[in-house]
Symmetry: C2
Subunit: 151 residues, 2 copies
Amino acid sequence: METTGTRTDTCAGPPQQNRRPDGQDRYTISEVVAFTGLTAHTLRWYERIGLMPHIDRSHTGQRRYTNRDLDWLDLVGKLRLTGMPVADMVRYAELVREGDHTYTERFELLQTTREDVLARIEELRGTLAVLDRKISFYADAGRALASERSR
Amino acid sequence: METTGTRTDTCAGPPQQNRRPDGQDRYTISEVVAFTGLTAHTLRWYERIGLMPHIDRSHTGQRRYTNRDLDWLDLVGKLRLTGMPVADMVRYAELVREGDHTYTERFELLQTTREDVLARIEELRGTLAVLDRKISFYADAGRALASERSR
DNA sequence: CGCTTGCTTGGAGCGCACTCCAAGGTTCTA
DNA sequence: TAGAACCTTGGAGTGCGCTCCAAGCAAGCG
């Protein structure tokens, strides 16, 4: 049976530790599932579309992830939260693979993303203001109804 | 030809005015497209899935939106920005249609949404911190490379 | 009157990000 | 050494939120 989103009982949570020290960091896919909250399907899919660096294999061909891979997945998770399309993340991954001469392009991509995140936060603040107005309206209406009932 | 996302040249922008005063507020679908930035397809689809209140029709059956409808679409737009699923918005619309006795339920739904938005903002802040760290890393690397080149 | 533009409908299609399946090989535990 | 649990692959399927299509009616204009 495929282990799919098993015991991530509580929600996402902060970056899980329990990592092994560098040198003994050869995690199976299901360990990475436990670390990241992603499914094994998604991890393999990320690899297929070029979102992952080359992943080590055991002598029988099973994936063995490293601490570096986990770090990368942390970053991907963060970028995902910003709403960045997977295609853009793949672009970034390609730049990383291409080597040092892509530093400026990566820099620009990150800065654009940063601006997007700031804009998103502002949008959400605007929405929060609207929600707060509505909520206080309903709170007032609720109080009015309650005093109506108690009369 | 279907008018689809015509002259919303600049980006979303603040809530457009140019509304007509209440009483003469009978907008065609293409006017609402101009106001909201949504497509006519999307507006009809919103109606089909129950996300809109009943929309007035002209004597020949064409939609005539009111200022109230525009207000509702503004709210929907804000909620959409929070990532709230359309199904949840439909639920909220149903509660509104069902009348006053759903006040508490609406109140709770809005409060839950408010919490979600706050959590989203916090997530984005976390991502921003990561981005800033990476950006300053690349900025340093860029400077190092520049001084390398100038030697 | 014809022409263009806009609006109507139900239903089909699309892009994204997964999500799952089938069939088979591997690894761990008792 | 049996059996359960886990891993592999390519490709197909899913759910969401639109997005578009075809065929037809309606309104304004020269």
